[in-house]
């Protein structure tokens, strides 16, 4: 299993599993459902007793998910290529504009070196590609103690906090 980091710690036994739209059988108890699922059946499953999340893939947009945010425990963005930076902006919108407080997870092709920016954009969970990369990601946690801009975590840009 690929290592999951959440809030700066390695998490054992992550219960969440992706449930593909075409799959047979019952939902897993903690189901990450693709966007198409939410678009077609969102109104029916929104009151389900299961713990539900969403998976967004390259090309998906968040708009259709917005009505279901209160039901969503996790929104997971799958990175097909690490250089595709769209999810950074989606995460920022989810946190700052839509006040989403559930987990925002990154998985797929992400680099340990991206974790800091992802975190600042609103992600709080990261599935790294290997144990070694997870360790690197944890070790890189304190690289920067200064930031100029506001972000999803720190709403005040440096110019409002600067003491000179």
């Amino acid at each position: 299993m690929q290592p999951l980091i959440k809030n700066g710690l390695l998490v054992e036994n992550d219960p969440w599993a992706v449930f593909e739209a075409g799959e047979d059988g019952a939902f897993p108890e903690y189901a990450l459902l693709p966007l198409s699922f939410w678009v077609s059946q969102g109104d029916e499953i929104r009151d389900s007793v299961f713990k539900l999340g969403a998976v967004l893939r390259a090309g998906d947009e968040i708009d259709a998910l917005i009505p279901y945010l209160p039901q969503l425990k996790v929104i997971a963005f799958e990175f097909e290529k690490f250089a595709d930076g769209r999810a950074f902006s989606f995460a920022r919108q989810l946190r700052s504009e839509h006040a989403f407080t559930g987990e925002i997870r990154a998985f797929g092709d992400i680099l340990p070196d991206q974790v800091n920016y992802l975190q600042r954009s609103g992600f709080d969970a990261f599935v790294l590609r290997s144990e070694q990369e997870a360790e690197t990601a944890l070790a890189l946690g304190n690289t920067f103690s200064v930031q100029y801009q506001s972000d999803a975590v720190q709403s005040q840009p440096l110019f409002r906090r600067r003491v000179s």
Partner: protein, 553 residues
């Protein structure tokens, strides 16, 4: 100029430590080359034809003599003792070793410099007029705004993996645009509205490369305190909607063109309204803090020295030439700004040796309050020289080969490194610049021709801005042979025009003749004091075509 406080310093120091660790991991094989790529690019490091190339940021072209001396020593210690000044007010080292780059960045950080985001698909160095703050024709000094943008864009977490690179330029002059803002992803023009308040006219979607397009107005007036939230909104829309399937269609210009400016504006304004009155609204305390760093140097109360200069010009005709071409009027009485020309025929345009750089730094200390600017025409500016000192400064520059009195003329060529250095080139560009400079070395002829921008790029990436040269030359490859396409009528200024292609391309050795015929046509057809550019636009390309192609067949 802006001086780092402990926050700014800490950030660049930590950035160096971060890159050192990343380089170690790459050298240990833990980071694959394609994974190291965006990390090194965002620290200015390309891998080039002969060696890596390191692009060092000179924020909005301004630097101190201390910083320039450090560049000289770095080029000596880690490179071959010369550097290249680029068309985006940056400095490039052409031969550093990869393993040395963390140390080089460490040395830069010691003098408040860095290479952050000088390449890669992120927000690049913000550029402006090289005469910012010293010319009379200016709404206000644009440099504090550039610094505010620098801080906002530096390590912006959301915009480090954009579809493509992103460049912002600011202009504050009303009658000129030396920053070519219409050819940037975002161009900001400082303006005053009817109430007399200062704001920005915002252009978006300009760029060169394969698809040259002037930016379009997205907002006629943006209050200055809303600058950062508005930039965030444009970048967010671009980050989400820009194409990622084809890198040649990934710049914001393609998105704006495809959507149309009105639809694009609607998205941006909708996004902006959500954040506009939040914490990113600039405070007057912050604006004043940054402006405080750009206060005027300790000018002496002097008068303009018209008589003295007239006398010196009369006695030394060479000085007269230099004064007319390389000296710019200053708003402070008794002062002038001078351009140190890096365009000596026989030397690559924009190149300077470590020795020259050290001496330029000394001259800046002696004559210009220890500050210098880098221009996008690839020259260096001493911006605050006493008029009474011009003659002695001129003599020193002459001795160094840095007083070529050709600023703004045909011989002040803008030229990319081309096939001699660049892996992407279709053709060499530096030898073309030299051939033209050698052919047209008669100063009286050059002066008679007046202002002409000649821009040369070695391929359609357009690093030499050939599209917006009054005369543009582009290297093209035809079945493995180097050819050159010539265009006329480009304009980097307020009008912002892309040049039109004259016709079939030429071989390298034909270029001086072709340029000669273009110039002859101009001289014959021009009205009195008409500039080359204006003649081209008045008479169109046909007379030039007839002349150039008639004789060559």
């Amino acid at each position: 100029m802006y001086v780092y406080d402990s926050y700014d310093q800490q950030l660049v120091d930590q950035r160096v430590a971060q890159f050192r660790e990343q380089t170690d991991r790459f050298l240990d094989g833990e980071l694959a080359p394609e994974e190291f790529l965006p990390l090194r690019l965002q620290n200015g490091l390309y891998i080039q034809r002969h060696a890596p190339m390191l692009r060092i940021a000179v924020p909005y072209g301004l630097m101190s003599s201390t910083q320039l001396r450090r560049i000289a020593s770095i080029s000596r210690d880690y490179d071959k003792g010369y550097v290249h000044f680029t068309t985006r007010q940056n400095i490039q080292l052409n031969w550093p070793a990869l393993e040395d780059v963390p140390d080089i960045l460490g040395e830069l950080a010691e003098v408040q410099m860095h290479a952050i985001q000088t390449s890669g698909n992120c927000i690049r160095n913000t550029t402006t007029d090289q005469f910012a703050g010293i010319i009379a024709d200016e709404i206000e000094d644009p440099r504090p705004w550039c610094e505010i943008i620098r801080q906002w864009s530096t390590l912006h977490p959301e915009f480090a993996f954009l579809p493509r690179k992103f460049k912002i330029a600011v202009n504050a002059a009303t009658a000129t645009d030396r920053a070519a803002i219409r050819f940037h992803d975002i161009g900001l023009q400082l303006v005053k509205n009817e109430e007399g308040e200062t704001g920005f006219q915002v252009f978006v979607g300009g760029g060169l490369g394969r698809t040259p397009l002037p930016g379009q107005e997205i907002r006629s007036f943006l209050p200055t305190e809303d600058l950062l939230s508005y930039l965030d909104a444009i970048l967010r829309v671009y980050n989400l909607k820009g194409r990622r399937d084809n890198k040649y269609k990934a710049r914001i210009k393609i998105l704006v063109k495809a959507m149309g400016i009105d639809a694009f504006r609607e998205l941006v304004e909708a996004e902006w309204l959500k954040y506009k009155d939040g914490d990113d609204k600039l405070t007057s305390a912050e604006i004043d803090r940054v402006k405080g760093h750009f206060s005027a140097p300790a000018y002496e109360a002097l008068n303009d020295q018209a008589d003295l200069l007239a006398q010196q010009r009369f006695e030394d005709p060479q000085f007269d030439k230099w004064l007319s071409r390389n000296v710019e009027a200053h708003k402070q009485p008794g002062y002038a700004a001078i351009t140190v020309s890096l365009k000596k025929p026989g030397y690559a345009p924009g190149d300077a040796t470590a020795e020259q750089i050290d001496i330029i730094a000394d001259l800046a200390d002696e004559y210009s309050f220890g500050e210098l600017r880098v221009s996008h025409q690839q020259n260096v500016i001493l911006s605050d020289v006493r008029q009474q000192d011009l003659y002695s400064l001129y003599q020193k520059l002459t001795a160094l080969g840095l007083a070529e009195p050709t600023v703004g003329t045909l011989n002040d060529v803008i030229c990319c490194p081309g096939g001699d250095y660049c892996a992407l080139a279709n053709a060499k560009s530096i030898p073309i610049a030299e051939a033209v400079q050698t052919r047209f070395d008669d100063l009286d002829y050059l002066y008679d021709l007046g202002d002409i921008d000649l821009n040369i790029s070695g391929c359609m990436n357009a690093c030499g801005h050939h599209h917006i040269g009054n005369i543009g030359i582009l290297g093209v490859d035809k079945k493995g042979e180097e050819f050159y396409q010539v265009s006329l009528g480009g304009d980097s200024g307020i009008q912002g025009k892309v040049g039109k292609i004259l016709g079939p391309s030429f071989k390298a050795d034909q270029i001086p003749d072709v340029i000669g015929k273009v110039l002859d046509t101009y001289v014959e057809q021009r009205h009195d004091d008409e500039l080359f550019l204006d003649t081209v636009h008045r008479i169109g390309l046909d007379p030039f075509k007839e002349r150039v192609y008639a004789a060559s067949h």
